[in-house]
Amino acid sequence: MTALLSPPRPEVATKRPPRKKIPVHWFYLAPALILLITFTYVPVGNMVWYSFHKWDGLSPAMDPVGWDNYVRVFTDERYWRVFLISLYYFVASFAQIAIALYFAVILSFSTRFRNLFKGILFFPYLLNGVAVGFVFLYLFQPGGTLDSVLRLAGLGEHARLWLGDPDVANIALAGTSVWRFTGLSFVLFLGAIQSIPGEIYEAADLDGANRWHQFRYIIAPGIRRIISLSFILAISGSLAVFEIPFIMTGGANGTRTFVIQAYETAFQFRQIGLASSMAVVLLLLVLLITWIQRRLVPDDEVSLS
């Protein structure tokens, strides 16, 4: 036994000259790094480079213009005003998180047809955004599905031009966005809730905690990280809304978002430089907001015991 504990070192090993260290770990990392650099950091670097130039995307010459593009984004009302449209989607994202959380909690307990409801709630997220846009285009048409449903419910007088009325159009679009993305938040919450060990609920039951108490003291703190993540996604998402308003209204009728404006600047007006600076501004804003939020809600280790 003792011999096994201290085996003699094989002689060959000591005789071999010390090998040059090959940094093997780089070989394993290389594919990931190459992909990451080629498809993420180089394009971002290009974008920043373009943003200091006046360029139409085709001409071989790019005129350097310094900070002009940035000055224009911040001083010309037409460029920064479109950010205000994001507020509609931001407010809507609270509704989205609330709805998702509500259903995630309910469906994590034993409810009849639980899996069916899970499927129903998650389904909209599986649909392609373009399809969602078209479906809701028909829904919101005058005399379309929504109006018919309202009429059947005896609320016919509330029918209006859902997309044509500028006071309602953004709310209608934000509603579509909520419909689409609730499923995603729901699945995130559901997963997090189910990772909370069952014994904790049993113990809580023995202590006489009702469902509200369980939510307040077990579930909410247990999934805090996911809730915080959802808010980050919601904020950056509402700043970068694109496909739903682009497909449904093309940015007309006061529904133009920042990204639609940037798209038009780049591809309708061929001002790639200006549009790049808009994209850089958006990127910095999202980073800034994320950073502020991480400061406000520190990322503590979750512990339930």
Partner: protein
């Protein structure tokens, strides 16, 4: 200058575009296939006509291949032509023959396309040669021209008591009002949601009968002043909308759906090009209505007691500068423009001088409309595009006109005067930067 992106091609575009990047035969170096080479081998032709790429176009190709044995013509249909081909241009691989995307500024033409000959020399043979020309060199030939005006449902206008095209904007508005009162039809359909039809308000410059207008236009810092062209055309759009003569909810319009609507008389009027007439007639036949109800009327404005309608070439076809088989490409281009009969088949104006107008346009001309071909700007070549980019007022497009419709229908703040003043200011600011 004219960004007419969609003609006929907007028919049911069911055929999917081939994946970008399979422009197979187009490779090769720049110089091995000069225009003097032999007409043989394979070429790739990019087209926006997804609806014809599998049917009519290969039939033309067969005729061509019979005339030039040893050649082969492959088509690559591109659904989102402008955007996709612009991206391909920067990659250097864009087929042998293609339609020039409107994103290419005139002074960039030489960068991507082969010169086809001098403007002087080609002018004698073809119409519309100066529309894609720079420095006296032509880079693209029109494959068919169109006239601009209103597609109307004659029957509905007749029900409202109007049988001849109104000659002033006021008479036109009065006519639309009568249609609203006496028929159930939508007097004017904007196609606001799809947007591009709004761009046709830019195609009416010929009404002033001024052949130099394309040169004068970019020189003017305020085209939305009373009496100027934009005031007349955009002003008419504003008044139509302001008087409630359009569809109920412009945000949910639908181009495909609008064809049967005008064919059956649910809609009375749309501003489009003459290319739309055969499509509307086809829609009428399909819907069981009378195709003869569809007529083409000029813009309601007369100079010297005559209507003037602009005719212009649609997309111009060009030979790619990076083509490896320029001789065959050039032969195809010439054959397609001169001998294929494509323009006639599409009821478009034949690009070759002297060939007869299609029947529909002949009838249009016979009502006393003078067809005007406006020369492109020469001294101010390319300036208008630059001002458009700089001011982000897309004259040939729809973005600022959608806003105009919103203001006119009370969905956005402002009045006709305030919006036109704003446009004049934005245009003027960009003008001073571009034209200095």
């Amino acid at each position: 200058m004219t960004t007419r992106r969609h003609w006929l091609g907007l028919g049911l575009a069911t055929t999917l575009a081939l994946a970008a990047g399979c422009t197979g035969g187009a490779g090769g170096s720049d110089d091995d296939g000069g225009a003097g080479g032999e007409v043989t081998g394979e070429i790739t032709v990019l087209t926006n006509r997804t609806d014809l790429a599998e049917t009519a176009l290969p039939a033309y190709a067969k005729e061509f291949e019979a005339k030039y044995p040893g050649t082969k013509v492959r088509f690559e249909a591109v659904t989102n032509y402008e955007g996709d081909v612009t991206a391909q241009l920067s990659s250097g691989d864009y087929g042998d023959v293609l339609l020039i995307p409107n994103t290419v500024a005139v002074d960039q033409l030489g960068q991507f396309f082969e010169p086809l000959g001098s403007t002087e020399e080609l002018k004698a043979k073809y119409r519309f040669v100066d529309e894609k020309a720079f420095d006296g060199q032509v880079y693209g030939l029109s494959i068919g021209g169109v006239a601009n005006g209103f597609v109307v449902n004659k029957r509905i206008w007749q029900q409202a008591g109007i049988t001849a095209p109104p000659s002033t904007p006021e008479a036109f508005l009065a006519g639309l009002t009568k249609i609203k009162q006496s028929t159930g039809a939508v007097p004017f359909y904007t196609n606001y949601k799809d947007g591009w039809p709004l761009g046709f308000f830019n195609s009416q410059r010929a009404i002033l009968a001024d052949p130099a207008i394309n040169d004068k236009f970019p020189a003017d810092p305020a085209p939305w002043q009373p009496g100027k062209i934009e005031y007349i055309t955009d002003g008419l759009l504003f008044d139509i909308v302001h008087n409630g003569l359009i569809e109920k909810d412009p945000l949910t319009t639908n181009w495909e759906g609008s064809k049967p609507m005008i064919a059956t008389g649910k809609v009375a009027t749309m501003l489009l090009g003459s290319w739309a007439v055969p499509q509307m007639k086809a829609a009428a036949t399909a819907a069981g209505a009378d195709p003869d109800d569809i007529a083409f009327w000029p813009f309601p404005y007369q100079t010297g007691g005559t209507f003037h309608a602009r005719i212009e070439g649609d997309y111009k076809a060009a030979v790619s500068r990076s083509s490896g088989n320029k001789a065959t490409a050039r032969a195809w281009l010439d054959w397609f423009v001169n001998e294929s009969g494509f323009a006639g088949d599409q009821e478009a104006i034949p690009p070759a001088v002297g060939q007869p107008l299609p029947a529909g346009l002949q009838a249009f001309q016979d009502t006393g409309v003078e067809l005007v071909e406006l020369p492109a700007a020469t001294t101010n070549a390319g300036k208008e595009d630059e001002i458009i980019k700089e001011s982000e007022i897309d004259l040939a497009g729809h973005i600022y006109r959608q806003k105009l419709v919103d203001i006119a229908r009370g969905a956005a703040k402002g009045t006709k005067d305030s919006y036109f003043a704003d446009l004049n200011k934005r245009w003027g600011d960009a003008h001073s930067r571009v034209m200095r």
